[in-house]
């Protein structure tokens, strides 16, 4: 079907302002938060109801038109990058909180609802929604489900997959799947887990029931300064080994500390090589005892200074620094490239050492901030896109970091997703049989591969080409990884 006919078909049931096709209207949709990659969609539709989405999907399915779903567009891996011959399905208008049930500890929401808006709506009941990606002020819950988003609280309270109960999902044929339920489990395969983090490849989410948690009675934060980053890493292991699961445990290296302190004035110690923020929450007695223990462990692990936030305002200020790490990077460098890899925590020091060596090799600075509790690294590679070759160097640097994460038994993405950004590295993390099974899973939901094509799971030929790129002097980099 030609573009014009498709527009006409959509205008049969959508108002004019819900179908965008002029270039200037499409421009805001050409990328998500990974702005290095841009692509205008054929057209954008902004439905308001599930019924409208069903019709859109039925038309696209009948006409074999690709469909890319998009929430708030805050994704960092190009997962919502439009398809040139496809329809971009914005779910932004499905933004209502349908129900909050404080006794069941649930909220039923539409996919376009912002993550933070759920906690705000639950606050009068003394409850909140735990997964808190840094972009929570803007990101939508549908996108969180699509990417299985995490955040500071995930070590203790889990990722999105641990905090949702039920989804309404439309297949590409426009058929409704009710996945999960208001109960704690459902018969059959765990499709709720399969759908979470599937990057819009398996279905279109139209409604989500999330779990709410009671707000902890007390929250307290400890900030510790270390002279060596490896000591801070060991301190993290020591806290956990002692049987404490902090509500949040975040680390920043020296470059990051300086960048954010200039920006936020959080009162960070500029002398140390690393700052560790460690939060405890729970009943007052629980928190008091944990904070005592945490301080003792951090001291014994070599912290040179320890501060417990005096009050809620200071606690917020300490966090404000960590949460401003990304914009702070933007202040000290014209451009930055944010990576997202995960490693077993025990390898932290060695991985950071290798990142430092790469920083020298590529002559690019790298700020390291990470969710220390769960080994999720976010190296921010600083570069200047106006300098010829710097973007390519930053990308090569970033790719190498992900490869290191795999070498140390980790993953190429902890919370940002694969999108289009990490397709090559997926060829290293998974062998061809495993990737084939991913394609098979996709085929079970979307046999004609119309939903978000080209994302998340690389095609075999791409991996063959990528693999060939890494044969150096006849020696493969990862000989133990099966290839074809």
């Amino acid at each position: 079907m030609k573009r014009k006919q498709l527009i006409a078909a959509f205008l049969q049931f959508l108002p004019e302002e819900a179908v965008l096709y002029e270039t200037e209207e499409l421009r805001p949709y050409e990328c998500d938060a990974l702005s290095a990659y841009r692509q205008l969609p054929m057209l954008v539709v902004l439905p308001r109801t599930e019924a409208e989405i069903i019709k859109i999907l039925q038309i696209c399915h009948a006409e074999q038109v690709p469909v890319v779903a998009r929430g708030s567009g805050t994704g960092l891996s190009g997962g919502a990058q439009p398809h040139a011959e496809g329809v971009l399905l914005s779910l932004a208008k499905l933004n209502r909180i349908l129900e909050i049930d404080p006794l069941a500890c649930t909220a039923r929401v539409q996919p376009g609802v912002r993550n933070l808006a759920i906690s705000e709506a639950a606050a009068p009941y003394g409850m909140y929604y735990a997964p808190d990606p840094s972009s929570q002020i803007a990101c939508s819950i549908g996108g969180n489900v699509a990417e299985n988003s995490g955040g500071v609280h995930c070590l203790k309270y889990g990722l999105t997959v641990h905090n949702i109960l039920r989804l309404r999902v439309l297949t590409i044929e426009g058929e409704l799947l009710e996945i999960g339920s208001e109960a704690f489990d459902s018969p059959g395969f765990d499709l709720l887990a399969l759908m979470t983090g599937s990057e819009g490849m398996l279905g279109i989410i139209t409604e989500i029931t999330v779990k709410l948690l009671p707000k902890p009675e007390t929250v307290q934060l400890v900030m510790a300064v270390f002279n060596e980053i490896s000591l801070a890493g060991e301190a993290v292991a020591n806290v956990i080994q002692a049987g404490i699961i902090p509500a949040g445990m975040e680390m920043m290296d020296k470059l990051t500390i300086h960048a954010v302190e200039d920006f936020v004035h959080a009162g960070y110690d500029l002398e140390g090589a690393a700052i560790l923020l460690c939060e405890s929450d729970g009943m007052a007695e629980e928190v008091a005892s944990e904070i005592e223990q945490i301080q003792a462990i951090l001291r014994a692990s070599g912290a040179i200074r320890i501060r417990v936030a005096r009050d809620e305002a200071e606690r917020q200020l300490f966090w404000a620094g960590r949460k401003a790490a990304f914009p702070a990077a933007g202040r000290v460098s014209p451009d930055y490239y944010c990576m997202d890899g995960t490693i077993p925590r025990k390898h932290l020091a060695r991985v950071l050492e290798q990142i430092e060596q790469l920083s020298e090799k590529y002559n690019l600075r790298c700020m390291n901030v990470f969710h220390a509790g769960d080994g999720n690294l976010h190296p921010l590679i600083l570069y200047d896109a106006t300098q010829p070759g710097e973007l390519e160097k930053a990308e090569a640097f970033g790719a190498r970091i992900l490869e290191i994460c795999i070498e140390f038994g980790g993953s190429v993405t902890g919370e940002h997703g694969v999108g289009i950004e990490k397709l090559n590295q997926m060829c290293l993390q998974f062998n061809d049989a495993e990737r084939n099974l991913f394609h098979a899973v996709k085929a079970a939901f979307d046999p004609q591969a119309l939903l978000n094509p080209g994302k998340a799971i690389p095609e075999l030929h791409r991996c063959a080409e990528f693999g060939a790129m890494h044969v150096h002097q006849g020696t493969e980099k990862f000989p133990d990884i099966p290839r074809f």
Partner: protein
């Protein structure tokens, strides 16, 4: 050498099953033989015994991760964790001492702590499996956060071995609480359900709840001081043998569950919206998980349709746990749309239908077993 022999045995068994298109019945310790639809093995069917495929592959207490082979005894695994002050937070049911890690994950059942700490699927970080084409595949891993590819690891949880043979599982583990105290309050069923819900909506360190015979049992766990405060807020009398009580609920050795195994009665597991009011069904009920799990002990002739309808009306589903499964399916029927997805997934993972036909939903079989 022994592990090599076991590995060869598993691989050969699957390869031969593929070659002859002959079903394989995956079996660990057999502690959950009763669970799911019956699948009596005949001379043409092979039992794939996984119990020799055992051993801890990796355990790092400070990483909060343990990786073990599927045939590892759950008791051995938990003993090891216990020595390091850690635990499987979903409190898996044993049903017998023979239970294995693979069976625990494949059945996907969780114990009394589930409503407060999460289910087995919430703790699975990665799996290695043998699929229906004889390939050994790994998904997930040993890290807490990993969103690369589809979550095939968790898809295996509760799949009853219909999608592949679990070889290895990596699980997140948690520290064991310093203290536990079980409180008992005399109350009615409607009041108990409401009380349980209030407990869940407040920041209290509750780790299990159970109501039966006019008594509400609440377990609180955590640092001594927090447990004491929680007790003073909740009220109730301390039960001396709290640990034994929860173990008997978890493993169904408690008399209520034992009656369910008798020839005259059936035991149904109703997983429903926790706030659902008391269900009016013939028989006796035991309520767990803050109201979300209702066990129904009823006469074996009680109409399954009525039980399933009530469970569905209460936002959930009903499983025939112990009872005659020759005429009633163990698991709640799937909607046509969901059944279609199940059939297609089964087709992709196990195109010849060799793994555990009948056990979950016979209708997902891609072809009729010989």
């Amino acid at each position: 050498m022994q592990m090599q022999a076991t590995s060869d045995y598993l691989l050969q068994a699957v390869t031969q099953a593929i070659e002859h298109k002959r079903p394989l019945y995956i079996r660990g310790g057999g502690s959950k033989d009763f669970y799911g639809n019956s699948q009596a093995a005949t001379s043409q069917h092979t039992i794939l015994n996984t119990t020799n495929w055992q051993g801890i592959v990796d355990y790092e207490p400070s990483e909060l991760v343990v990786t073990a082979r599927a045939g590892t005894s759950l008791a051995d695994l938990e003993k090891l964790l216990h020595e390091q002050g850690q635990m499987l937070a979903f409190e898996p049911p044993y049903f017998s001492t023979a239970t294995t890690l693979g069976g625990c994950v494949a059945a996907g059942l969780s114990g009394p702590r589930r409503a407060y700490a999460g289910a087995v699927r919430d703790y699975v970080l990665g799996v290695q499996l043998l699929d229906g084409q004889g390939s050994i595949l790994s998904f997930g891993g040993q890290v807490m956060k990993n969103v690369a590819g589809y979550d095939v690891s968790r898809l295996m949880v509760g799949a009853m071995g219909t999608l592949g043979v679990l070889l290895e599982v990596s699980l997140k583990v948690l520290p064991r609480p310093e203290t536990e105290r079980t409180l008992c309050i005399q109350t009615s069923q409607p009041d108990a359900i409401h009380f349980m819900r209030r407990c869940s909506a407040e920041p209290l360190p509750v780790s299990a709840t159970c109501f039966l015979d006019g008594r509400l049992y609440i377990r609180v766990s955590g640092p001594e001081s927090a447990v004491r405060t929680a007790h003073s807020r909740l009220g109730g009398d301390i039960i001396a043998d709290g640990a034994d009580f929860w173990e008997s609920i978890r493993d169904h050795t408690y008399s209520f569950f034992q009656q369910g195994k008798s020839a005259e009665q059936s035991l149904w597991r109703l997983s429903i919206q926790p706030t659902a009011p008391s269900l009016s069904l013939p028989g006796k009920q035991l309520i767990e998980w803050g109201g979300a799990l209702r066990w129904l002990l009823t006469d074996k002739d009680t109409d399954a349709t009525i039980i399933r309808q009530q469970a569905a009306n209460a936002g959930g589903h009903a499983t025939l746990f112990y009872g005659d499964k020759t005429t009633v399916s163990a698991f709640h029927p799937l909607s046509p749309a969901l059944l279609k997805i199940h059939q297609r997934l089964k087709q992709q993972f196990d195109p010849l239908g060799i793994f555990n036909p009948q056990r979950l939903y016979p209708e997902i079989q891609p072809c009729k077993p010989i």
